[in-house]
């Protein structure tokens, strides 16, 4: 049997709260440091301790980062899930398990290779403390894996040294546990396995980071000074990352005082309220939440839309409806975010797909919010937000200036003859605003959620109301020219009449290169459009109109993005084919391929490369 390198999926089945995360993380990080592209997925329960949790690492030399079905190596450390864990192994795959107790008969499979290791038994004499024993189990299997997969042991030990820097007492036992496992593997197992890793250069200069951390850091760089939030999975780490980074990067030298304020609010309503209050008073501010929080914030979002106050909201989507599956990923807040609140309300949305984009969009969203004087909602998701993944490194142009939008200072006001907060002076639908306390005589206005005229005076005049609503539409059009354009790739096959495209956004982009490659193998070549924002720009219209058929791939049941496209673009619904995955894991390349193929088989007239060529 030949040896394969750098191409497998390994899954760790653990019990939540058993300390497996650090060992599993070290595993992924070790491969990453060997230059091998890895994608990690933490599949965890809405629970703190005791329920099953999985950690999955896809190792792929070609750089496919999407989730792949089927497990090549199962590290089964949770008795509770053993049945399904064994079942999930691909034929020919491996099961690494603690054989301190024998594997039940019914779990035995002929088509997989069992690698038993009496971890618990081994550790009994080594560690007296039961809790330590449980913890070092994880390190021990990591040691074994280093042997089985041929991982550079120095990389792992190096990581232990870094991780426990300052807690030196912990380094030796960790190394000891690692060596126990490694030694056992070499002595009692066929190590390395035919599935192996080897050093690579495919990672390049990329970093490995989760999207929420990137978002938090991006908010620091983008100049956010006020963050208000309410804990909710999977968004919490955005605020935490902001605080973490700000605590290092935003401290005034000398006084050690903080150039930011972070408030853990009493609920999401308060969180967005604080953000709106701060932005109204001229501070860049943001909050992070997830679906239930978005629902709660809707009233305030409507206020900010109508009263035209900047706000940045990160929605790290999870599986709904209602509480849904709080620790599973989905892209099911598209509609709720786009039209959050009652009345004719709509909000610009940004759809980051990578950690780097989270960083970039964090700063961009703050600019856009100020420029457009409206809430900007960044739709990330659990998949992107909470999993370490490869990303381009963060960059900042030191010449970049924050776009604070149309704000008049005292001097501007002195030179302004007529100030009307909602006067469309420039024809772009955006009025000039002032911060409270700017000028003793001019520029003060009253902000309200009720209808008002161009001078911010309350009115119920039908004309004034309509006039205002129309201006908001003009502003909406302006927004479509300012938000990041979709990424479009057209195959050079114009003469072949390829008129089928595929459209996707956010984390659906992760499995897409692989899915497209798989489809080419089937003779199907698709033009692609990765949406990065809403409202949709002209480039999206051109893409939609130049393709007879567009697959819209997304991770929700109802094809919300497809509906949003139809709703806003007035496209023919028959031309938009929905591909939806919404089970809570992230969508896979195989799934996309399967859905596209199925459609092609049902609609045989669609062009294929093979047909065209023949």
């Amino acid at each position: 049997m030949g040896v394969s390198y750098n191409d497998f999926v390994i899954r760790f089945a653990n019990v939540n709260g058993s300390g497996s995360a650090s060992a599993n993380g070290m595993f992924a990080k070790a491969l990453f440091r060997m230059g091998i592209p890895v994608a990690t997925r933490n599949i965890f329960p809405s629970n703190i301790q005791g329920l099953p949790t999985w950690y999955e690492v896809r190792v792929n030399e070609r750089g496919y980062l999407g989730r792949r079905d089927g497990v090549d190596i199962m590290v089964a450390m949770n008795a509770e899930t053993l049945v399904e864990d064994v079942a999930s192994i691909k034929p020919g795959g491996y099961l690494l398990y603690d054989n301190s107790k024998p594997l039940a008969k019914i779990l035995r499979r002929d088509d997989i290779i069992e690698i038993g290791m009496p971890i618990s038994t081994m550790l009994l004499p080594e560690f007296v403390d039961a809790k330590q024993r449980s913890l070092f189990k994880n390190i021990t299997y990591l040691g074994a894996l280093s042997a089985l997969l041929n991982i550079d042991f120095e990389v792992i030990t190096g990581m232990v040294a870094t991780q426990y820097k300052g807690k030196d007492a912990l380094i030796a036992p960790n190394i000891h546990a690692l060596e126990l496992g490694r030694k056992y593997a070499y002595e009692y197992m066929v190590a390395p396995l035919p599935i192996q890793v080897k050093r690579s250069d495919k990672v390049g200069h990329r970093i490995m980071v989760d999207g929420n951390t990137a978002a938090g850091l991006g908010c620091v760089y983008g100049g956010a000074t006020v963050c208000a939030w309410y804990p909710i999975t999977p968004s919490t780490s955005v605020a935490e990352a902001f605080e973490l980074h700000a605590n290092r990067l935003r401290i005034e030298s000398g006084t050690e005082e903080r150039k930011f304020a972070i408030i853990q609010a009493e609920d999401e309503l308060a969180a967005i309220g604080v953000v709106i209050g701060a932005a109204w008073n001229g501070a860049r501010s943001f909050t992070a939440t997830s679906g239930p929080g978005l629902s709660l914030m809707s009233e305030f979002l409507g206020l900010a839309y109508f009263a035209e106050i900047p706000a940045v909201l990160w929605d790290i989507q999870r599986a709904g409806p209602s509480t849904g599956m709080p620790t599973r990923t989905q892209q099911s807040d598209v509609m709720a975010a786009a039209y959050a609140s009652h009345g004719d309300t709509k909000h610009p949305l940004l759809f980051p797909a990578t950690a780097k984009e989270c960083f970039d969009f964090a700063a961009l969203a703050l600019d856009l919010a100020d420029r457009l004087q409206t809430p900007i909602i960044v739709l990330s998701d659990l998949e992107l937000g909470m999993n370490d993944n490869l990303s381009e490194p963060f960059e900042w142009d030191d010449n970049r200036k924050y776009d604070r939008g149309k704000v008049l200072n005292a001097q501007d006001l002195d030179n302004t003859e007529v100030f009307g907060r909602y006067l469309d002076v420039d024809g772009d639908g955006i009025g000039y605003r002032t911060y409270p306390g700017t000028h003793p005589e001019k520029g003060a206005f009253f902000t309200r959620g009720t209808s008002r005229d161009e001078f911010a005076a309350y009115t119920e005049s039908p004309e004034a109301y309509e006039h205002n609503m129309q201006r908001l539409l003009r502003k909406w059009h302006t927004a479509s020219t300012l938000v990041p354009a979709a990424e479009i790739s057209q195959q050079d096959n114009s003469q072949q009449g390829n008129k089928v495209g595929i459209l996707y956004f956010g984390t659906t982009a992760l499995p897409m290169p692989e899915a497209l490659d798989l489809l080419v193998e089937e003779g199907i070549q698709l033009d692609t459009c990765r949406l990065r924002s809403f409202p949709f720009g002209e480039e999206v219209r051109t893409f939609m109109e130049s393709h007879e058929l567009v697959f819209v791939v997304e991770q929700n049941r109802d094809g919300q993005m497809r509906k949003l496209l139809i709703n806003e673009g007035e496209y023919n619904p028959q031309d938009l084919i929905s591909i939806t995955y919404y089970a809570g894991l992230s969508i896979s390349a195989e799934f996309i391929k399967g859905e596209v193929l199925e459609y092609y088989q049902a609609n045989k007239k669609l062009p294929r490369l093979t047909q065209v060529q023949s």
């Binding site: 990453f32 970093i207 490995m208 951390t213 620091v220 760089y221 100049g223 000074t225 006020v226 208000a228 980074h245 990067l249 935003r250 006084t255 005082e257 903080r258 150039k259 304020a261 408030i263 609010a265 609920d267 309503l269 308060a270 969180a271 967005i272 309220g273 604080v274 709106i276 209050g277 701060a278 932005a279 109204w280 008073n281 001229g282 501070a283 501010s285 009233e299 305030f300 009263a307 990303s391 963060f394 900042w396 030191d398 970049r400 200036k401 604070r404 002032t434 911060y435 409270p436 306390g437 700017t438 000028h439 003793p440 005589e441 003060a444 009253f446 902000t447 309200r448 959620g449 009720t450």
Partner: protein
């Protein structure tokens, strides 16, 4: 309401304050509330207090929720920005405003519906957060704009205009504020500016959360016999314990008072808070005692007014957060952005 604009003309000998302005320079637009609404008197008291303090009239941030009370920020301090937000959420919005610019004077106006029902949570939490602000509740025990339903501060047994009794226990916001940790708690009455104006001045100078529950009768729906929030009732059963007065830094301290009944407190900003104790046994520095007193009196149907509690050395949210002295909203790239060089080590930490 009236659609006749209030004439700009003012009394030719209206006193000027220290920055050369009259009280009229602190006014807002003409109220659209019912004629005789207590809330308008509260607005007038705010106008007077701010003028007497000689704070530039554009250096306030006025925030409110929804309801009759929340309309009032339009009716004072026209030169300041105002924000009429959503029902019950004034506390969060003003929290943000205060975080953004700690130099502005924050005035939050709310009502009993706004603060004691839909906004109960936000009320409690802004008190906990110790936002440096003046929090006023125009408390009339009724829902005015929806025409006379009982509110959560309406006393059990008090009657609606049609005579139906309220069946539920009332929420006493002043007691709540005392219990949750407000560092300045007072209660007053819209019809008694001699008490209210000095309280407002002291509250505006107090650092931290200053809460004033102002009984402010609703002439349209809650000023009848059977109401415990009517002009007549509060005049009859209001019991003033401590009158406050505010003495600016440079004002001369006069000593025309009975020793033992007056206490001067030196405030951190150099001003003096003078307290006239009308009930000698009352100690406005004793939070628990104050709570007890207010509740005991309430059992007897009395409404304790005046400065109920003050902690002159209180800290505010910015102290807790250790934020810089410069207002956050004044900072730009220079102060806020760490720059590309800092990213090198950050990127490295993710390798």
């Amino acid at each position: 309401m009236t659609f006749v604009a209030k004439p700009k003309a003012h009394h030719p000998r209206l006193p000027l304050n220290e920055i050369g302005l009259t009280r009229r320079d602190y006014e807002g637009s003409v109220s659209t509330l019912c004629a005789g609404c207590g809330h308008d008197s509260v607005s007038a008291a705010i106008v007077q207090a701010c003028a007497e303090l000689s704070i530039p009239p554009h250096r306030f941030a006025k925030v409110s929720g929804i309801g009759c009370s929340s309309k009032t920020p339009s009716y004072f301090l026209n030169k300041s920005h105002g924000f009429n937000s959503v029902h019950g959420r004034m506390p969060s919005v003003i929290t943000g405003a205060n975080l953004a610019n700690r130099d502005l004077h924050c005035i939050g106006v709310s009502g009993d519906g706004d603060s004691a029902s839909i906004g109960m949570g936000q009320f409690a939490h802004i008190v906990r957060r110790r936002i440096n602000m003046l929090y006023i509740v125009d408390n009339n025990g009724t829902y005015g704009l929806t025409k006379g339903q009982f509110s959560a501060t309406s006393d059990k047994g008090s009657t609606s205009k049609k005579g139906a009794p309220n069946l539920y226990e009332p929420i006493d916001l002043a007691s709540m504020a005392l219990q949750i940790g407000a560092s300045f708690v007072a209660r007053s009455f819209s019809g008694d500016k001699s008490q209210l104006v000095p309280l407002l001045k002291a509250a505006l100078h107090h650092k931290g959360m200053a809460f004033i529950d102002v009984v402010s009768p609703c002439v349209a729906f809650n000023n009848h016999d059977g109401s415990t929030k009517s002009y007549e009732y509060i005049r009859k059963y209001g019991q003033n314990v401590v009158n406050a007065d505010f003495i600016a830094e440079h004002e001369e301290i006069t000593a025309d008072y009975q020793p033992g009944t007056v206490e001067d407190i030196n405030m951190p900003d150099g001003t003096i808070l003078r307290m006239y104790k009308l009930d000698e046994n009352y100690d406005p520095h004793d939070r628990v005692g104050a709570l007890n007193y207010v509740q005991r009196r309430k059992e007897q149907g009395e409404i304790v007014t005046g400065l109920l509690y003050v902690d002159p050395d209180a800290i505010d949210c910015h102290d807790i957060l250790r934020t810089v002295a410069q207002p956050l909203n004044e900072m730009g790239e220079l102060e806020l952005c760490p720059g590309n060089s800092a990213l090198a080590s950050i990127n490295e930490s993710y390798r």
